[in-house]
């Protein structure tokens, strides 16, 4: 095995520092219009969602306190129309963003934690632990996700927590596979062997050496995971598994469906939540893809 000359020669000033790497990444990111568009969307949505309590009062959401026309098409005072209770659809969509984004984010966090842990362990421990975890991941992938998510959420009871857990349980395999592959790649590098020879324990190897290398990939994978988590949340809430009292995009569509918005031709009830989901998911997808392209320029032709 050849020895690297880096350890012997004078400090290589052309070798980028951590801060320099971040700067290069940002500069590369700015050059990608799709990624910038995605990021802009996310920032806008986040701001609108977080600031919602500032421009909306509880009165706008309370069915007993609103005074708008019932299930009315868009008009001056209500740019996106009203629902069956007379609430402004526009305000509902903006308020719903909070719930959908929150669940999406938390579910993604759980997914990433679970998936990364399994992936890291599976890649690091080559013996029966590693093989066992890999088989476990493969078996999980074989199970169709929606029936499992539905069953889990149903058994755990209605509510946001159940949905979040159900999403995490059905989404972790993607991250696990990714992290495992990257862990194997990183641990095959010579400097890991040297680190072990110098006495680094398992935990140290994993946390100090593998994790920093895997982190960028996890970051990319999370943006795409959030997108699919939001879609899953919407689906599960639509099917009736969400919190009946809170407003989210899924609950709006459920209300539209159950309340006969379609037979009434109330397209304004139907369109905004879906378009909102589209915008947010596109935001995450575009950002994630842009980051992916930067981190891995050897992506396939034609992407």
């Amino acid at each position: 095995m050849s020895t690297s000359t880096l350890t012997i020669s004078a400090p290589d000033t052309s070798h980028p520092t951590r801060g320099g790497a971040l700067l290069r990444f940002l500069r590369a990111f700015v050059k990608r219009p799709a990624g910038l568009a995605g990021l802009a969307i996310l920032v806008c949505v986040a701001v609108l969602a977080l600031a919602a309590p500032l421009y909306m009062g509880q009165n706008d959401l309370d069915v007993t306190k609103v005074s708008g026309p019932l299930l009315a098409p868009p008009s001056g005072g209500y740019p996106l129309g009203t629902d069956q209770a007379g609430r402004s659809i526009l305000l509902l969509v903006l308020w719903g963003a909070r719930s959908s984004l929150a669940i999406g984010a938390i579910a993604t966090l759980l997914t990433v934690l679970l998936g990364s842990s399994v992936g890291l362990l599976a890649g690091h421990y080559q013996g029966w632990i590693g093989k066992g975890l890999m088989h476990l991941t493969d078996w999980f992938i074989a199970l169709p996700s929606l029936p499992l998510a539905i069953s889990l959420a149903a058994v755990l009871g209605q509510g946001s927590t159940s949905i979040t857990i159900a999403i995490a349980v059905t989404s972790w395999t993607g991250t696990a596979r990714l992290v495992r592959a990257q862990t194997l790649a990183v641990e095959a590098r010579p400097y890991i062997e040297r680190a072990r020879a110098l006495g680094a324990g398992n935990l140290q190897v994993m946390l100090r050496h593998v994790l920093p290398n895997v982190a960028p990939l996890i970051m990319v994978s999370s943006t795409l995971t959030v997108a699919s988590a939001i879609l899953s949340e919407t689906t599960l809430t639509f099917l009736g598994l969400g919190d009946p009292t809170s407003v989210s995009w899924g609950s709006m569509l459920d209300a539209a469906f159950a309340g006969g918005a379609m037979t009434a031709g109330a397209w304004w009830y139907l369109l905004p939540p879906g378009v909102a989901i589209l915008i947010v998911v596109l935001g995450f997808t575009l950002t994630g893809r842009a980051v992916e392209h930067i981190l891995n320029p050897r992506m396939g032709v034609g992407t």
């Binding site: 499992l148 069953s151 569509l253 469906f257 879906g274 989901i277």
Partner: protein, 357 residues
């Protein structure tokens, strides 16, 4: 100098000796295939076992006391509850219950639905055909549309069709399936603005029409259009993507230059040479995507009240009807595992290069 043969090579029998060599080679190929089949079968069985385990944990161990749920609203004495618990086998040790559970499931005894008061297996059997019809039709259409678009997009990648297709596909992937269904419903069934009501709003057939014969077939077909369209719109993109990259992979291959040198038109080169080679890697992916179709079917059937297994699941969720949910969960999982197994086997057959190994 003899022109007849090359110097004998291991895998290349001389002219006359071919028949002698082929018998042991065929036998070796057959046993390799059986070995492959065996390992895939084993993997599928293990997956199914895991499914049963998860089903057991989810539906038998986790929920609240079923006796309580069953007797809610009916005044029941403690003794009656104990008796009921014994009848349902709930007082057995866990491992015993698991064995009973597995035995029952394998015999098709999936319990009774709480809301329909009928055996779950009977309900599943009754709703199976509509789901098969819907997913089958959607799959075939998605494959045809998806592959066609993939071939054209990849052949002239970077061109207009390519860009439009990928944007459209991305958009459809980024919205919930059921929302697309609802939009299609409101536009084409209820009628929006100038567009008249073209298709029925739900169900599988019109009860006022005869339930057999040609009228019935046309009626069902009319009801099938919107739900199938919804599924196709969401699913086609997967096939397009895989076919597109397969075609792009083939684009630089020398045999395409040979085909062009023979004087074939661009379309013939694409159709007769590039596509068959690009199709092979796509096939496995096609089968593997069938699992995703199951997911879509659940929500689409709900939106269109299509009387299949997906709608059954939705109905089970409303109560929640745990035995019914358990039954549909096991059934869906088993189906997808079976699909994946068939995919692996089919792929082995289709690639002549793999066949030869």
């Amino acid at each position: 100098m003899s022109l007849a043969t090359d110097p004998p090579a291991a895998a290349d029998p001389a002219t006359g000796a071919r028949n002698h060599d082929s018998a042991p080679r065929a036998a070796a190929a057959r046993s390799a295939f059986l070995h492959y089949l065996g390992s895939k079968l084993l993997a599928a069985l293990v997956s199914f076992a895991i499914t049963l385990l998860i089903g057991f944990v989810l539906f038998q161990l986790m929920p609240a006391d079923p006796v309580q749920t069953l007797t809610r609203g009916h005044p029941t004495s403690y003794a009656q509850m104990v008796h009921l618990r014994h009848q349902l086998g709930l007082d057995q040790p866990v491992w015993r219950r698991f064995v009973t559970f597995v035995a029952n499931t394998l015999q098709g005894k999936l319990g009774d639905s709480w809301q329909f008061q009928q055996p779950v297996s009977g309900l599943i059997a009754a709703r199976l055909w509509p789901t098969l019809l819907l997913t089958g039709a959607s799959t075939v259409l998605s494959i045809v549309v998806g592959l066609w678009l993939g071939v054209r997009s990849g052949w002239r990648h970077g061109g207009l069709l390519d860009k439009v297709t990928s944007s459209v596909a991305l958009t459809f992937w980024s919205v919930p399936t059921f929302w697309l269904g609802m939009i299609l419903l409101i536009v084409f069934s209820v009628g929006l603005g100038p567009i008249p009501a073209l298709f029925p709003a739900g169900g599988m057939s019109d009860p006022s029409l005869p339930q057999t014969g040609f009228t019935h077939i046309v009626d069902v077909a009319r009801h099938l259009v919107l739900p199938a369209a919804t599924l196709v719109l969401v699913v086609f993109a997967q096939y397009t993507t895989i076919m597109r990259s397969s075609i792009i992979d083939e684009l630089g291959s020398p045999y395409l230059l040979t085909a062009r040198a023979k004087g074939l038109t661009d379309a013939l080169v694409r159709r007769r040479h590039a596509v068959p080679n690009a199709l092979l890697p796509s096939v496995t992916v096609i089968f593997l995507q069938l699992g995703g179709l199951v997911t879509g079917a659940i929500t689409v059937e709900t939106v269109f009240s299509w009387p299949g297994l997906g709608y059954l699941t939705y109905q089970a969720l409303q109560v929640p009807d745990l035995p019914l949910l358990q039954g549909t969960f096991i059934f869906f999982s088993a189906s997808v595992i079976l699909m994946n197994l068939l995919a692996d086997v089919a792929y082995r057959f289709l690639d002549p290069r793999v066949r030869a190994q």
